[in-house]
Amino acid sequence: MLEIRNLHVSIGDRPILAGIDLDVKAGEVHAIMGPNGSGKSTLAQVLAGREGYAVTAGSVRYLDRDLVGQDLLALAPEQRARAGIFLAFQYPLEIPGVANVQLLRSALNSVRLQRGESELDAMDFLDTVKSKLALLDMDESFLYRAVNEGFSGGEKKRNEILQMAVLEPRLAILDETDSGLDIDALKTVAHGVNALKHPERAVILVTHYQRLLNYIVPDHVHVLAGGRIVRSGDAGLALELEDRGYGWLIPESGSLEEMRP
């Protein structure tokens, strides 16, 4: 579904990613772990199309029916979203005065139009969204609050997963969705993500800690350090990291502020 080859990315003159290779197949869950500053969030943002990063080498192929042969990096963020890529933000943005339900509906309809489906009217939309609210144990009042405005940290993260549940992406990238969550919220979010697992869908979990992986078990775990994947393995690798920290995996030259998760 996703083929990343030799991806190099910098901000200004500063290289952040220094040759990433990654294959993600439909139905798989990949965890990308690593210490702070290793480039995890950059990778997530670049895949979603955030401007301000310079891709200096490499390619990303997203094997969607409509995008065969196209480099994902050439597409605008909205084109990627409509093609089924979803990024759950580490820091979701507030949009004052815009009701959550309004954004959800605009987003879903833009994605549906791309898929060749008709726009949902207000009633059908409400039915759809209510079933997703239940999945995440969210109250209906969420729909009528302004997008993320005055939301607690946990509410913001749940709201991201709600958007994901409504949009039903083919490739979901969750950027540090576990950060700032207490254990109950973490379980709810994990439950929401697990409920969306599907043979046609892939998930990339970007996370600093192992604890999310107790609830969402990954098929593959990759450790990112110094802008490269320095180790890949199965779920066992995450447990090993929990024990040993990141230090043993980091090349000598890597000067990283925080070695342990």
Partner: protein
């Protein structure tokens, strides 16, 4: 047999023209025979206007007093707007479609005019009209048609052109004209008092709740003409009325002057809601042409518990200079001002309100949303004045600015004068720039950049839009979207 795909220069030009026209969709000119008074301003011109309108002596006298006073005034320079000097002798002060005297009903209205209003989406034909909206349409200097007049008359409501009111209800005109905005008020209001040609007149009798929205549509058509309309709305004791106005003008390279006056009088327990969607031609991207909109609007809460609410959405005009205000004279009276002002390209707006607290327990609310894009300049200018008599007066002001480019400007000039120690006056202000992060967030959910901008802007304006009648709120959102096309990037 297929033609090579080379676009013909003419075809390209046509496409370009249609694209340009797309930015201002109301920019067409109606080809209609005009009756215009020669350019320039003099006592003779004022006498001619008054004679054309067959006015009683008190009106002519009032106009001449205003004109003589105007000659002693100079154009004010305190606002933040800049423009080349206006040549007041180069303006036609009266322009009217040449179809003789005032039409009695729609069948007497020039079909070309009816087509114009059809293009603008104004329902003049009662049978096609949106139920619940009575329309008075003003084309250049004269009122063209007033719909639903009979239905309103049965309730004792007078809704007609100003000219007709002068003929049929001179006692009301005489009593209230200039009682809120005197002819000595300010340079532009004084000019208006001398030369105003038409406008709307509303009187709602005691205890009557007007059952439909009343609406006026102003249209400037003639070249080199000014539009000087005057609107007077009186809500008698316990009466309620909601009034809407909309405005458009053709696209022209030269600037045109629009200097209107609106006076509202709310007696005891009366309630007036006045909504404006102003979409005069704003000029092109380089700032050529456009309307100079210098308007004086003021409401007088003359009785206890009177309530006046102004809502405005200002997206048009090269220059907007207006401060819809409330004089809170009656005890427990309430004044409100809700405003969205958008300036794109080279537009300038200096707008706000004045809330003058005189009565006890008077309350006022000000919500101002300024949006600046391109090279636009947007200023909020407001005065909250609490007189010694206004015990327990309260005001809350919220003033937000949204910046959409690196070249635009937003200014806030709040003036607060409190002369009673029991008053509570609050002022909140924010300035924000539409953020790349916000845009990316929305685009990563599948929204185009344009839709993302519109969503953010509509959210920003929500508190004001919810004050507008439903159809107008939808219209205002569309207008904002059109005015902001290409504003980002």
């Amino acid at each position: 047999m297929s033609q090579p795909e080379v676009s013909h220069p003419d075809a390209r030009n046509a496409e370009l023209r249609s694209r340009v026209a797309d930015e201002y969709r109301w920019g067409f000119v109606t080809d209609i025979e005009q009756e215009v008074v020669p350019k320039g301003l003099s006592e003779a011109v004022i006498r001619l206007i008054s004679a054309k309108k067959n006015e009683p002596d008190f009106m002519l006298e009032w106009r001449l007093q205003a004109y003589r006073h105007w000659l002693t005034l100079t154009e004010p320079t305190w606002s933040s707007v800049h423009h080349p000097a206006i040549d007041y002798q180069a303006i036609h002060y009266y322009a009217a479609p040449k179809s003789g005297s005032q039409p009695k009903d729609l069948s007497e209205v020039d079909p070309e005019l009816l087509r114009t209003y059809e293009k603008l989406g104004i329902p003049l034909q009662e049978r096609e009209a949106l139920a619940g909206v009575a329309v008075d349409a003003v084309f250049d200097s004269v009122s063209v048609a007033t719909t639903f007049k009979d239905k309103l008359e049965s309730l004792g409501i007078i809704f007609c052109s100003f000219s007709e009111a002068v003929q049929k209800h001179p006692e009301l005109v005489r009593e209230y004209l200039g009682s809120v905005v005197p002819y000595t008020d300010n340079y532009f209001a004084t000019l208006n008092s001398a030369v105003f040609t038409d406008g709307s007149f509303v009187y709602v009798p005691k205890g009557v709740r007007c059952p439909m929205e009343l609406s006026t549509y102003f249209r400037i058509n003639a070249r080199n003409s000014g539009q000087f309309e005057r609107t007077l709305i009186i809500a008698d004791e316990g009466a309620t009325v909601s009034y809407l106005e909309g405005c458009t003008a053709p696209m022209r390279d030269e600037n045109q002057l629009h200097a209107a006056v609106v006076e509202l009088v709310a007696l005891k327990d009366a309630r007036i809601k006045y909504s404006t969607v102003q979409n005069w031609y704003p000029g092109d991207a380089e700032g050529r042409g456009g309307i100079y909109n210098f308007v004086t609007k003021r409401g007088d809460c003359r009785g206890d518990r009177a309530h006046i609410s102004w809502t405005q959405v200002e997206t048009g005009s090269a220059i907007t200079w207006k401060y819809p205000s409330c004089i809170l004279r009656g005890d427990d009276s309430v004044g409100e001002f809700y405003s969205v002002a958008l300036t794109n390209h080279r537009q300038q707006a200096d707008t706000g309100t004045k809330m003058i607290h005189i009565g006890r327990n008077t309350r006022s609310t000000i919500v101002s949303k300024g949006i600046s894009a391109g090279f636009g300049s947007n200023a909020y200018r407001g005065l909250v004045k609490v007189l010694p008599s206004a015990a327990n007066a309260r005001n809350h002001t919220q003033c937000d600015s949204l910046l959409m480019s690196d070249h635009c400007a937003a200014h806030t000039f709040p003036y607060i004068e409190v002369k009673n120690p029991s008053a509570t006056v609050e002022h909140e202000a924010t300035t924000s720039k539409i953020g790349d992060d916000q845009l990316f967030y929305l685009r990563s959910r599948g929204l185009s950049e344009e839709d993302a901008v519109n969503l953010i802007v509509n959210g920003f304006c929500k508190e004001v839009f919810k004050e507008l009648p439903m159809e107008f709120a939808v219209e205002a959102q569309k207008l904002l979207a059109v005015s902001l096309e290409g504003a980002i990037g």
